[in-house]
Symmetry: D2
């Protein structure tokens, strides 16, 4: 299905905390793994050379809701979908499931930016990328 990416990921020991569960901040790291996997599936990277600088997608906003805890060595299935494409931004939604049970759902909005000399400048999403996203 276009605009979708799936991956499976196991909870690592270092990702748990003393409450015995996957720490809430790590869901954001997993969301990014799914995003990068999605970009790769399009033949792109989250950071690409572009007109003498680099194009990247710094986040403008991220969020996550948590429905049930995940534990050490649990295998979660992540499903990323493209939720919205704007003039200069893209929003992904990622669902986390374990054996079909919904564990969490996250969203992240990245802004299409040219990076040069350490600064970010937003730009319109190039047409060739836009057509792959929609």
């Amino acid at each position: 299905m276009p605009g979708e990416f799936r991956m499976t990921r196991r909870v690592q020991f270092v990702e748990t905390d003393l409450a015995g569960v996957l720490h809430f901040s790590n869901y954001y790291r997993w969301m990014e793994e799914a995003e990068c996997g999605f970009w790769r599936s399009l033949g792109l990277k989250v950071v690409n050379p572009h007109e003498g600088g680099h194009m990247s997608w710094p986040r403008a906003a991220t969020s996550c809701e948590y429905f049930a805890p995940a534990r050490f060595e649990d295998e979660l299935e992540l499903t990323l979908t493209v939720a919205a494409v704007g003039e200069r931004s893209v929003t992904f939604e990622v669902e986390f499931r374990r054996d079909g049970e919904r564990i969490a759902r996250g969203r992240s909005t990245g802004v299409c930016c040219i990076m040069s000399d350490g600064a970010f400048r937003s730009t319109r999403i190039p047409d060739d990328i836009r057509s792959k996203l929609t």
Copy 2:
């Protein structure tokens, strides 16, 4: 001021990414540091012994908006405020500033839970804690 906590934190090298900025997921780690600092300032821990088990505050939802990048060795000032107190949950808001400029703003909602035998069961916020929060 009651219901407020301030701390200063420097961006560490390991917290940057190849784009040269504080990785977006690390804001959530910093938010938690501010929350734990707040609980400490009340004489509490984010995890407390309670009636034979432990009381803790697993997150139900977190979010963050990013306004400007932070870079290696930047010193950010975090201000946590109690944004809402429900029957069983508390919502914190954390502002991130650098020399007065707003860098990011995050929110996190934790649910008052008893942990025992590795399971979480939500419970009403005890009155002594509620009175410290409001």
Copy 3:
């Protein structure tokens, strides 16, 4: 081959730093992933229920040598071998390669411990585990 475990792992964005390479501390996280994979391949976990408490392998010593940098989205092949088995400890060695080129080599020594009430007490490696290790 007994006493060996292989896995492949891609460098994630969050694992890079502003120098553009896999941060040196993350090699230790990867070493642990290989260790846990090895334990799983033996039908064990790095933390197992044992005689009313849990058995685990807290590290006594770890080390790593770095031969070449790894970069975003590089795929590294890790090969774990059992380097030594003592009365109460086991030492693993993990080689990191990219297309055959040696990137790093780490070692880690864990001590067989019973955890109960939050304390660790070292113990002889049980015979059934020892026989799987050697």
Copy 4:
């Protein structure tokens, strides 16, 4: 004392694991914080502009021995010393103590490098830096 740097650091919630202790990999992150603090105390950064590129200190080797576990909210005192200065490298040693009790001791060797176009090239330590280190 020249060639020495001290700092205090509290164990954060996210830094613990399901065994309830500071995860062994995080000691390396703390060692780097001490190193960067040491460079700052000399008026330097771990990454400095240098002759059109940047000078940095990628690690050639790191190691750590662990003597006792550290737990959530423990305050550890870190003492960094310059253990050796070579032609092109510097070795730091960091001791971790809690109320005087030794918790861990780590070492890390960094190589003086010029980074340009994403590559590292080792170089002699400039005299002005060498004189500050010894």
